[in-house]
Amino acid sequence: MVMMMLKGNEATAYAAKVAKVQVIPAYPITPSTLFPEKVSELISNGEMKAEFIPVESEHSALSAAIGAAATGARTMTATASQGLALMHEVLFIASGMRLPIVMAIGNRALSAPVNIWAEQQDTIAQRDSGWLQFYAENNQEALDLSLIAFRVAEDKRVLLPAMMGMDAFVLTHTMEPVDVPDESLVEKYLGPPEQKYPTLNPSQPSTFGAFVFPEHYMEFRYSQFVAMEHSKKVIDEAFEEFKNIFGREYRKVSGFMNEDADILLISMGSMTGTAREAIRKLREKGEKVGLIKLSVFRPFPKEELVEITKNARIVAVVDRNISIGFAGAIFTELVASYNNIEKKPKILNFILGLGGRDIRVEDYIEIYNRAKEAENRGVKEIQWINVDEDAVYEVEGPL
């Protein structure tokens, strides 16, 4: 164990190092460029042994990752925003081919207009791609969840790729003390990097990526669905084993001052710390408010979320993403999780912090106040926080 001052990107590069990742194809993009830079540095100074492929695009980064993982190498890459969008086609192929690639994402807004700051739209837009999705609150989590992602992805009951999101700049470029675990302990946790599933091997020739007709295609898709369902249990086991070896505890869904709360806020990613601060302040004033943090978005932990929110009167879901035409993604899926459950809290959606707009303690207090209003009267189901509505209505017409 070594304590180091690391930026989020560096923490994930160290995750690659201690996990003995064998192949790292990567392409620079703000805010995840520090990942390939750090990897290149660690390899060049002899601290890390891996094949780094400085590819010519993100599309090729993930394609090379597929080639490497199909050859049985532990493989990792990193990207963000436009880069992840460019990978879109290949994301589905990686999961369809059941390759346990791990990818660190610097969660960033998508163009247009171009913006390089924090937002979770990039990964949320890929939620249907068949990848597991983890989200980090801080840089220690970024490292730990990257290791956990390998453990789950490589489990033979799962064999699906995983992405680990950390908010742009707030995490990717901010230094925090991070406990970098010993390689020997990580090897105990993950096993050796050589993969055991069928690979491109001349002594046992197999065909990968064949042309599949309607009579067989659905079974391949259903296999992925079943594997993702199985991953729920595997994630819990991986968290448990992680705690036993490294002493740090993770849950898909965790609560803070939530036990007796009438109103619950739901948060995912780096702004959870700010939310916690707001909850503390509100509690000091006697408000019965609590916080639920989401660390896993795919598979969506619906059972745990329902269990932990069912006794609240109001659940205020805070989304740093928006599906234009409906609502934020966590809200949508939480509402869907309550399908066929009779007793349910009132669920509201608050959109904030898009394109790196600062998320302040006051914003969470504002969200709480608006949610509290809903106890007595009807309020808008989806509300945008800290946005100049008048300026928009002037151009688009009022809503």
Binding site: I66, A69, T71, T207
Partner: protein, 297 residues
């Protein structure tokens, strides 16, 4: 080692009768032998050779998508290196002209620039045959396709020239680039063998007739491909390390045949015979290309 008596590309695949692609593949594999990993770009070859649950490939084979075969192969190269298993294994990519000259050009260029030890074989049937004969940048001037149709407002079919992909690859200064024609088997075998002995990126451009898209009798495949070279339209050459001045013609027709002999049996060029001027234009271009060498000698 010689694997000429072994078949690594099994019969029973679903290629059209008269398709030249399996001839190319079969011979590349015979020369490469069993210690080989194949990457296939999306295209006819991938579709007709792997109708699940069947496969014609007796070697490890992977298809990922259309534009990224070179990137996938780069990842395989890196993985084998990381595992200490790189020595002795061939990595060969097969891609059609669309998957190579158009949508796959970026990843191919990246692979060449990074210097991966990979052989890329482009089977060039001069259009998007898998989707139904649409023009690609590799479709020759004057050819009819379903997206370069012939009519009163477009009498010549494709108005643009064929992208010189092999020259583009040679300009990457990779160790070996060659053009091959399965109708000239000994020349083709020699070049594949040579390419596989060289470390680094290699590119082989193989002309590959498509009876469906070129619109010719399936029994005439080899004959027509032979005419491509005998007329001088598809010259056979090799360039090492990007040294264009030392480009070596590996076959010089004793007397080049007129280009219309190549056009005549192919339906895709039929309309040109209504405009003999265009045929003369093409003949002039071919003559000019060859004049550079003939003057030198």
């Amino acid at each position: 080692m010689n694997y000429e008596n072994q078949e690594f590309f099994a019969p029973g695949h679903r290629a059209c009768a008269g398709c030249a692609a399996p001839i190319i593949v079969k011979w590349v594999l015979k020369i490469a032998g069993p210690n080989t990993i194949i990457v296939n770009a999306t295209g006819c070859l991938e579709v007709f050779s792997t109708p699940y649950p069947h496969s014609s490939w007796r070697l490890p084979w992977i298809h990922v998508a259309f534009e990224n075969a070179s990137a996938v192969a780069s990842g395989i190269d890196a993985a084998l290196k990381a595992q200490g298993k790189r020595e002795g294994t061939n990595i060969i990519i097969f891609g059609g002209d669309g998957g190579t000259s158009d949508i796959g050009l970026q990843s191919l260029s990246g692979m060449a620039e990074r210097g991966h030890d990979i052989l890329y074989v482009m089977y060039d049937n001069e259009a998007y045959m898998n989707t139904g004969i649409q023009r690609s940048s590799s479709t020759p001037f004057g050819a009819w396709t379903t997206t370069s149709q012939v009519g009163p407002y477009n009498i010549i079919g494709k108005n643009e020239f064929k992208k010189p992909i092999a020259e583009i690859m040679a300009a990457h200064k990779i160790p070996y680039v060659a053009t091959v024609n399965p109708a000239f088997l000994p020349d083709m075998k020699m070049k594949i063998e040579k390419a596989l002995k060289i470390k680094g990126p290699k590119f082989i451009h193989a002309i590959s007739s498509c009876t469906t898209g070129w619109r010719h009798d399936p029994s005439k495949t080899v004959e027509i491909m032979r005419l491509a070279t005998e007329t001088g339209i598809f010259p056979l050459w090799e360039i090492e390390n990007g040294d264009f001045l030392k480009m070596k013609l590996t076959y010089v027709p004793k007397q080049r045949k007129p280009v219309e002999e190549y056009f005549k049996p192919q339906g895709r060029f039929r309309h040109l015979f209504q405009n003999p001027e265009k045929i003369k234009e093409i003949q002039k271009m071919v003559d000019e290309w060859w004049a550079k060498f003939e003057n030198k000698n």
